[in-house]
Amino acid sequence: MNQREELHEEFADRLIEQGLAEIAGNHRPPDLTARVLSAVHAPHYDHRRKATALRGLVLAATVALMVAVWLIDQARESTKRVAAVNLPRADTTVAPPPAPATTKEQLAVLVDEFNRLMNENRFDEAEIVYRRSAKVAPDELVVLQMKNTVKMVARTRKNSPIREPAEQGQFAALQSVEQSAAPFDDREPYEFGVLRGRYGEVDDDVRFLRHKGIVDQLYQIELSRIPTPDEPPILYPDRETWRLLTGRREKYLAALVGRDSLDGVRQAEQTAEQLKLPVTLNYKQSPLSQVISDLEKLSGIRMDLDEAGIAEVSIAMDVPVTLDLAQDVSLKSALRLILEPLHLSFVIKGDGLKISNARVCDEERLVIRRDRYSRILENPFLAALDHPLSTFSIDVDTASYAKVRRYLLEAGEMPPPDAVRIEELINYFDYDYAPPEDDAPFAAHVEVTACPWQLKHRLVRIGLKGREISAAARPAANLVFLLDVSGSMEPEDKLPRVRRAMRMLVEQLRENDRVAIVVYAAQSGVVLPSTTGFEKDRILAALDSLHAGGGTNGGDGIRLAYDIAQKNFQKDGVNRVILCTDGDFNVGTTSNAELERLIEERAKSGVFLTVLGFGMGNHNDELMEKLADKGNGNYGYVDSEAEARKLLVEQAGGTLVTIAKDVKLQLEFNPRLVGAYRLIGYEDRLLAAEDFNNDQKDAGEIGAGHTVTALYELIPAGQPVAVPPVDELKYQRPASLTEAAGGDELLMLKLKYKRPDGSQSLAPVVCTVHDAGQPFGAASADTQFAAAVAGFGLLLRDSQYKGDLTYDAVIEIASQAVGSNPHTRRAGFADLVRKARECATKP
């Protein structure tokens, strides 16, 4: 085929393609009739635009000449500039146009000229022509039209240099967003320092593209941010207007926050301003108190040294300070330079400064608390006929009580309702339940009495008591301390307290026990490999060497701790990871779900978990409770040395030695006697009825000597029930009562559990319960006290089920129960309730 034939083929194919587009694609030629007609009739049609260059030049010259003539005639100031620009172009050899006779003809020439200039984008000249036209016939419609055109053109010209680059920039930014979204190969996630063979190069290319895209994007965003031109210029109002505005603003602010606090804010602002004062300091081994009082005199700012706070970090008031500044620094920087090496800080308080340790200052600055709690939805009353079974897992955690105590006593404020888990309040206290007499790991005790906040209701108390194991009989322990040493752990109530708590635990260890210490921050590492109780000194020295700093990557640390625990696994012994943290995991593999999965997986190896929470401010209560739950563990909150002693010394057996795991309770209520029931607390421990017999379903653990208490509030049959009735079923008859229901059994309790190393539940323990109609006053001290604590929880949560309960009633019940009980811990409860009463009545 020669070239021409090829071309022939090409065009023939194109013709068919075009025909198909028209027939099949309905791509019809447009109707251009109107367009052609208007083009033919419009006087300024394109053919003029395409006039020869010569003609354009002549015309330009003509216009310029006309303008010049007109300029002399009119001597108009505003047009001088344009004319001056155009004058050089004027060709003097061209004769001026003949003067038109009538206004109309004159106007026609001008309009034609105007159109032509507009077509040639010579807007300035067109504007002059318009001005001339306005002279000739100011009221003509066409002149008004010219005026509008000129205006519009001017506006468009002013805007376009701004709009165009902005649009371009935006477009380019979008384009680079597109580029930066280059996909990442997730099948082989990138690991630092790991060479990838041939895939590594591909990854690098993709990464390079992404990075480049992002940089381009930033650059384009920068470009597209063309500032608004200062035209018309912003006019700032005069001083007087400003003063009025400020006055009005302050008036509203004062109404909003109250006059006093406004003064405080203003003082603080002033103080902050004064801190910018430049100072030159030169001290050699001068006492701190002297330096501060010098600065006080120099600046006129009151500086309070918080002696208690400073003593807390073992700094004396006359600690020598050396500071040699070559040049002026601000007072603020000078203070930092002096205080930071001493682990001190300062905070502005009104018209002065408070100087104390870093923690105190942080707390002063802390306005918004970041503690996190999961939502608690209280269990409702359930009709015994419709829901005969109530199933739940036990819970030996006690963290909530310590948290509540810290809110009330230290912060002096009511705890958030979701921080109050009633079962943890109740289980915080010991109860004198009899331990099991036989081999069983625990004994169950049930008591029925009147409900103190709803006297017509009945209260069922179920008490479990784990078998006691004497310290001597405790099996050998293999412990791994997993300690959070991230920067957030620095305050006094965190890492230093962790150190002291772990010390208490280590003191009790025997020679055949083992301890390893793993720390985590941004990275995790083994501080102490598994070491026996022979070398307590080494363990304690390792604890003392810890210091805080860096981010928090909990995931790796957890993995490492479990690895060590498994490596040193003690058969028939205590194998446990003890995690101490403020619960703030913020780096690495720490989607919460991932952490939970990790721990759930590792718990199967037989290693148990204890989670100890420390500190306040960014405490993640929700996550820590979940982790303990998933990791076959328990969760305590250490708000004081005393609490550490309780958890790790007095109840060390319970905390360390698990005697039964996956302990589940199921109650069946007799609908002949029970109208409705409500489980108090245990909201996040509820199980489905069928989970009771499902060994796969995880539940709570019970430690040696632990007591677990659960309360049910019952509405006896025949009393009004606040439960809306369910419609009668169409296809089923309601189950009729059995013979057993005819008796006076109130309910049946079933208990299931596994041995700590078992994977199958043992046969359930079953007992039946009768209601002897006992009044509340005749109930055991344990039951009364548990009811008081539960009532306290209802009040703190401001529960809809609190009935006519008051703080005073709680104090009264509790004080009676304390009287007959040797445990001193209960005495502190009444104080806490009093404090709550005080906080609750505060505005």
Binding site: Q18, L20, I23, L37, A42, A108, D112
Partner: protein, 184 residues
């Protein structure tokens, strides 16, 4: 800035045209589709075809012009349009390819006949109706539903190249069909 259309109409400043607009309208209505198609065929994109069609009619109308026959007019319009197209190529500094355009004109005459009517399109439509099976499907998907080759390939279980050659072969088939019908 664009020119301001319609501006010169007001107040008798327009240069009154001595031509008869009624006739022009008829001329445009009769021939515009052919001219537009021809321009597209030569390689003009749609908006250029719009512009050049307009310029073609305007330029024809500005010169003394007698209509002998519809076919002659169509041929004349085509010549003007071709020149317009050549000029537009020159204006854009593209190498005008006279030889290409000659071949194009040859092909155009060969398949559309001398007249400026839609007859060849009707023929093509008949040929298309006769088509069936995958070839017809491919044409519909491509020209009616404007699907990409990849999408068509997915529906017809063909590779992209397969779709491309199927479409090309089908177009060839249609061309033979037109040739046959015109011969008979």
């Amino acid at each position: 800035m664009h020119p301001l259309p319609g501006f010169g109409h007001s107040k008798g400043m327009a240069i009154a045209s001595s031509k008869r607009p009624g006739d022009l309208a008829e001329l445009v209505r009769t021939h515009q589709a052919g001219v537009w198609r021809y321009l597209r065929f030569l390689g003009a994109d749609e908006s250029l075809a719009d512009d050049l069609t307009q310029e073609t009619f305007v330029s024809v109308w500005k010169k003394p012009f007698v209509e002998h026959s519809s076919a002659a007019t169509a041929s004349y319009l085509r010549t003007v349009a071709r020149n317009m197209f050549l000029m537009s190529l020159r204006r854009r500094k593209r190498q005008p390819m006279i030889e290409r355009l000659e071949v194009a004109e040859e092909v155009w005459r060969r398949y559309t006949g001398e007249g400026d009517n839609d007859e060849w399109l009707d023929v093509l439509r008949d040929c298309l109706e006769a088509l069936n099976g995958r070839a017809r499907q491919a044409i519909d998907l491509s020209y009616h539903y404007s699907l990409s080759r990849a999408e068509i390939g997915r529906q017809l279980e063909l590779s992209e190249d397969g779709v491309k050659s199927l479409l090309r072969r089908t177009r060839e088939l249609l061309r033979r069909c037109i040739e046959q019908k015109q011969a008979s």
